[in-house]
């Protein structure tokens, strides 16, 4: 965002001082900066790299002390073993189904509610909005006992709906979306109204196209949150066949014992789906965090 200013042109000497600092010639400070930055990044990638290094070792080499980074006989045997069991694939599928339900439903109900609060006046609107926003303060973790009993009564334990439905309540997104809708000028709607459009058409044809970035951000964060949610799916599933990926990995993996190559191969496989999503949507995620400051 370069803005033209009426500042007097800087003197030659000052210009040279500035240029020395920002110029292409690398100096000691810059080399140090880039070295530190690279080291920090490598340090952050280390757990991922170490998991991968372990996962391609033959099982006998994982327990060598001191630990070595590279094996002379790399093998994907551990991956074949893990995938051959099939449960990891099953859990991934379960995660995909439940996470999709959560994301779609959350987007639909939060968008409708935010639109209702943003564009209409109705009886009880202020206190209803206050009630919903107050829900942001309630930690969902403290409701696990009555929620679980409710699910038992509804017969939804060990079902996809049982995993997904309680996760749809996200008052914070209603708040964020309403603020976004409030900022959209009403001229667009007025034009549509003159053409005889009803409120549903205005939502669909005017509001939604204008809010694509925020909808993408909310969608991605709902997806990541639901995919990685542990406590609720952990409570509401007892059958390994209905478990989601984090729950299955957190509870069943103990049976692998000390086959570290296999455990790490599972960890790498379990990390992959969302890492791929992250790589594909990196730009949206970064702007999403920047724009809304959503904390799941």
């Amino acid at each position: 965002m370069a803005t033209t200013t009426d500042r007097p042109a800087p003197t030659v000497a000052a210009e040279r001082r500035g240029a020395a600092r920002r110029g292409p010639r690398p100096n000691v400070g810059r080399i140090a900066l880039y070295t530190v930055a690279l080291l920090a990044a490598l340090l952050w990638l280390l757990p991922l790299l170490w998991s991968f290094a372990t996962s391609i070792k033959p099982e006998g080499e994982t327990t060598v002390t001191p630990p070595t980074w590279f094996t002379a006989n790399p093998t994907f045997d551990a991956y074949a073993q893990v995938l051959g069991r099939g449960d990891l694939i099953r859990w991934t599928f379960n995660s995909l189904v439940t996470t999709s339900i959560v994301t779609v439903l959350t987007l639909i109900v939060c968008v409708l509610a935010a639109y209702g609060f943003s564009r209409f006046d109705f009886r009880g609107r202020p206190w209803l909005f206050a009630l919903i926003i107050g829900g942001i303060l309630i930690p969902p973790q403290t409701l696990i006992v009555p929620q679980f009993i409710l699910m038992t009564q509804l017969g939804l334990v060990d079902t996809y709906w049982g995993i997904a439905l309680p996760q749809v309540v996200a008052p914070v997104f209603v708040f964020i979306l309403k603020r976004f809708f409030d900022a959209i000028p009403r001229d667009y709607e007025d034009a549509a109204k003159i053409d005889g459009a009803g409120s549903v058409r205005i939502l669909w044809n005017v509001m939604l196209p204008l809010s694509r970035p925020i909808l993408t951000a909310v969608g991605i964060f709902t997806f990541i949150g639901a995919w990685n949610n542990f406590l609720w799916p952990f409570l509401v599933t007892t059958d390994p066949d209905t478990m989601t990926l984090p729950v299955g990995m957190g509870t069943v993996m103990g049976n692998y014992g000390i086959q570290y190559a296999q455990v790490m191969a599972s960890a790498v496989l379990g990390a992959l789906p969302l890492l791929i999503v992250f790589l594909l949507f990196q730009r949206h995620i970064v702007t999403g965090v920047a724009g809304a400051g959503i904390k799941g």
Binding site: A40, T65, I144, L150
Partner: protein, 311 residues
């Protein structure tokens, strides 16, 4: 999948009965309520109703295993408020919060400053620092348990080669919580880091250029321009992180199970243990309510502090 709703036509409402109202001039209609209704249904069923029912459970001896339920007055509340186990888990949660919040804020700030100055590596640094945030907790726990393994792990291996004594990490009461905090920082710092980075990159360039022309060095520019302009972001991140840290459960549960000797058992885990392992619905519910009230008080206090800072 758009909700088809039949809007009752408000008497005398203009705009072809569309219900679209300019709040300042026209009478209220019911249309807005139809839009709010789906969310409200979820909200009432899965949040409000459990909150009310849960409060009722606290006055009973209900068991998860079923059986007769009788009304026992304030027994659960008395037991909760005098339970050393609750205070121990509150203390553990507090220790985790006090250790993790400064680390998660300052580390995020440091990494964001690095990224903001090392522009050429921008995408690579963003990728490295944020990638752990998208990992499922079970993946993160498996990776760190493996690195922390006292006899075979990477950390003690490196320490041993450098001639140091290895640590017990997750297996000692003295080091378990610190180990969990380190792993959590690696896992979750990326979010705060992105918030900081976005705030830094919204600072207009010409402010820096003006400072450079006046002969300010890099450190002066960070100290006099960047940090003061980031004050609001710092408050926001600290508030969010505090509330997040108080709700900690899953990574600790998976890495230590609350051990060794309950040294890392958090409040959420104690609620889970009482209700789902001990089967005592009433007792677990009263504990959950005590904790909920504490969290709400902490959150409200922080938001008030935050809005005063903003003003």
């Amino acid at each position: 999948m758009s909700e088809r709703t039949h809007t009752p036509r408000a008497k005398g409402a203009g705009a072809a009965g569309s219900g679209l109202v300019d709040v300042r001039r026209k009478p209220a209609t019911w249309t807005g309520l139809w839009y709010v209704l789906p969310f409200l249904a979820f909200y009432l069923l899965f949040l409000v109703w459990p909150s009310i029912v849960g409060l009722g459970y606290t006055f009973t001896d209900r068991s998860l295993a079923g059986g007769d339920v009788s009304f026992i007055g304030f027994d659960n509340w008395n037991e909760t408020l005098t339970d050393p186990g609750l205070y121990e888990s509150l203390w553990n949660t507090l220790v985790f919060t006090v250790l993790s919040v400064p680390v998660m804020v300052l580390l995020a700030l440091g990494l964001a400053l690095l990224t903001d100055h090392a522009r050429r590596l921008g995408w690579f640094l963003r990728l490295s620092f944020f990638a752990p945030f998208v990992l499922p907790v079970a993946v993160m726990a498996l990776m760190w348990e493996w690195m922390y393994n006292p006899s075979l792990g990477l950390f003690n291996g490196i320490l041993g080669q450098l001639g140091f004594e290895g640590s017990e990490w997750l297996f000692s009461e003295n080091t378990a919580m610190v180990s969990v905090v380190i792993a959590t920082a690696w896992w979750q710092v990326g979010f705060n880091y992105l918030l900081y980075l976005a705030a830094m990159q919204s600072i207009p360039k010409d402010v820096y250029e003006a400072a450079a022309i006046d002969g300010a060095g890099v450190w002066q520019r960070i100290g006099r321009i960047t940090l003061p302009l980031l004050a609001r972001t710092t408050v926001l991140i600290t508030v969010l992180q505090l509330i997040g840290s108080l709700r900690v459960f899953e990574q600790i549960y998976l890495m230590t199970g609350g051990g060794p000797n309950f040294a890392t058992r958090t409040v959420i885990q104690y609620i889970y243990d009482s209700g789902f392992v001990g089967l005592r619905i009433g007792f677990a519910s009263s504990m959950a309510y005590v904790f909920m009230v504490l969290i709400i008080i902490a959150s409200v206090a922080q938001f008030r502090l935050f809005s005063r800072k903003e003003a």
